[in-house]
């Protein structure tokens, strides 16, 4: 290896001056795009979330509340509702990923492409159907029963579409020539999928995942109608008993949670975006 390539750079002085201007420009542009601009946007949201949380805590500590309100907004009750809510979101979220991503990959592979319209139609229906209807339908008619399990199933049906569709769109957006280049150099179809297609599709896929998670946080409020628990309990109690403090607390907490989940999603998107794009 120490033997020189005598002709190499020597005979071709233009190599380094080969349009260096353009290269330098793209280089600096690439830096600024992935650099400060992106991070600054990411810093605003947590500040807002922290401010909102602080305001809520202060209000909770100082507000004059009725007995029922105090019970419902007690730290332990509140904590349980939040944990329930997160649990619904996370379990449904994991299932959505476990179903949406492999299905999306499968539907972009040769022979399975033909099933695409059918599967998308089903997923579309899932999302287009009123969420509350899905919950009740699953709990009553379809025999899933009341409780956590059917709430999770309904949530998955309702939110799988963005993950599925973004996986497909992301994979299909990968330049076909890159796939050909990969195959042409002897990578197997599987290697091309994992080393080329999926990494390049990651930004689009993660955007879908974030959308799904935010949808999940919001929709999980409906779980309370089939005894699935969560922050929806505060809201429905507030509505039923005309206790505005409960109603607003529930709504504010769900909103803060959704914003927080959205932010985590954005951070992951930022970190997981392949370098060099």
């Amino acid at each position: 290896m120490t033997a020189p390539m005598p002709a190499g750079a020597q005979a071709y002085p233009e190599t380094e001056t080969d349009d260096p201007q353009a290269a330098v420009q793209t280089r600096s542009r690439a830096r600024s795009a992935s650099g400060r601009g992106g991070w600054r946007g990411l810093l605003v949201q947590p500040v807002l979330i922290a401010a909102g949380t602080l305001a809520f805590v202060l209000w909770r500590a100082t507000a004059e509340l009725s007995d029922t309100e105090t019970r419902q907004l007690g730290w332990s009750a509140l904590g349980r509702n939040i944990v329930d809510h997160l649990q619904l979101t996370l379990v449904a979220g994991v299932l959505v990923l476990a179903i949406g991503i492999p299905l999306g990959v499968l539907l972009t592979r040769g022979p399975f492409r033909r099933a695409t319209p059918l599967v998308l139609a089903v997923a579309n229906t899932g999302q287009a159907a009123p969420a509350i209807g899905l919950f009740v339908l699953l709990a009553t008619w379809l025999g899933f029963g009341f409780g956590f399990r059917s709430a999770v199933v309904a949530l998955v049906l309702y939110t799988v579409l963005p993950v599925l569709r973004n996986t497909m769109v992301g994979l299909e957006g990968v330049d076909a020539r890159l796939v050909e280049a990969g195959r042409g150099m002897g990578m197997s179809a599987l290697a091309v999928l994992f080393r080329v297609e999926l990494p390049l599709a990651v930004p689009v896929m993660l955007a879908g995942v974030r959308t799904a998670l935010v949808l999940l946080v919001g929709t999980a409020t409906l779980a309370t109608f089939i005894s699935g628990g969560g922050l929806g309990l505060l809201i429905t109690t507030g509505v039923n008993l005309s206790l505005d403090a409960l109603l607003v607390s529930g709504a504010v907490l769900v909103a803060l949670l959704a914003l927080a989940v959205d932010w985590v999603g954005r951070v992951i998107e930022h970190l997981a975006r392949p370098k060099g794009l």
Binding site: A3, A9, P13, A22, G276
Partner: protein, 398 residues
Amino acid sequence: MSETIAERSDERPGSGPTAEARHVSGVSIRLDGVTKQYPGQRTPAVDAVSLEIPAGQIVVFVGPSGCGKTTLLKMLNRLIEPSGGTIYLGDEDVTGQNADQLRRRIGYVIQADGLFPHMTVGTNVGLVPKMLKWGKERVAARVDELLDLVGLDPETYRDRYPKELSGGQQRRVGVARALAADPPVLLMDEPFGAVDPITRQRLQDELLRIQEELGKTIVFVTHDFDEAVKLGDRIVVFDVGARVVQYDTPEAILADPAEDYVADFVGAGATLKQLTLTRVGDVELRQPQVARVGEDSAPVVRRAQAAGDQYVVVTDRRGRPISWPSLAELSRTSTVPDTVDEHLPVVGLHSTLNDALDTMLAASQGGVVVTGRDGVAGVMVVETVMAAIQQTRGEAQG
């Protein structure tokens, strides 16, 4: 395998572009009745093509778009499965071989952006060796060696992403990646399309230089006949259905087109086409006065005056030309300056007279600096090109 290239370059006799006994590391390719019939189409896209591509040569496929030349190329590495016929690599029938294994033995360069944008230049180049389970250090050494070979400084470019390179540099990396595992055969599918003419010409020069060193079997697809004439040891002219209309050396095709179809394709300017056949290395070059950066200016100026020159070629410390100042400019400085002239017209010995003329016109200069293996090989002036045109005119008439 990775060390052999360097050794080879020492064994190579002579350094002229037309060195007779050049090293051959490629193998021959033989096509026997290769056919591609797509279902539902009445006529085959490629109809029973039989061809023999000799080892160590550049064979260029030309023809109008849709003639099947790219389909035929992609059947060589079975990106498209032939529906009939046999393909031999050397003596080996590869038609039924595992396609992935086969492709790791065949370099492949595609049009434009074939580099993986999320991998660094080094990772891109090292992909195939890694697939072949080379050790980490061997891959790294090979990557550096190849970047050097295609004229990119490994230190500078190894860890960059493709998007941070200019179009020309990306093409170089593409070539390096295809050569990574030292495959005997290289398939190139319009690899230098969509770059500006000057960059394209440099890439062509560089490919010829690399080929002179390595002696691969290269199959090159283009629709540009000038490119075919410049690069090809032999040219295959295709018509629809990948019908082989003529398969011969560029000189023979230009001199004696097999059919009207070829004559049309070759175009009318046959005299000017001769400019594409003549290499800069084939004509007599003037020897300029050469000065190194940092030398005292005064003796250089005196030397040039004694030789009767008006200009001096300035080279950097590695002997590469960087500027071409006049004596008047030079005598205003105490030592030879290290300013790099971005627009310095430079061609290689492999460049055609056509390239040289293009380069002069693009730089608005009456001459070009010619570089060879050991730095400046001479300068060529526009009068030399004119003389060559006059000469071929004379030959054509006489």
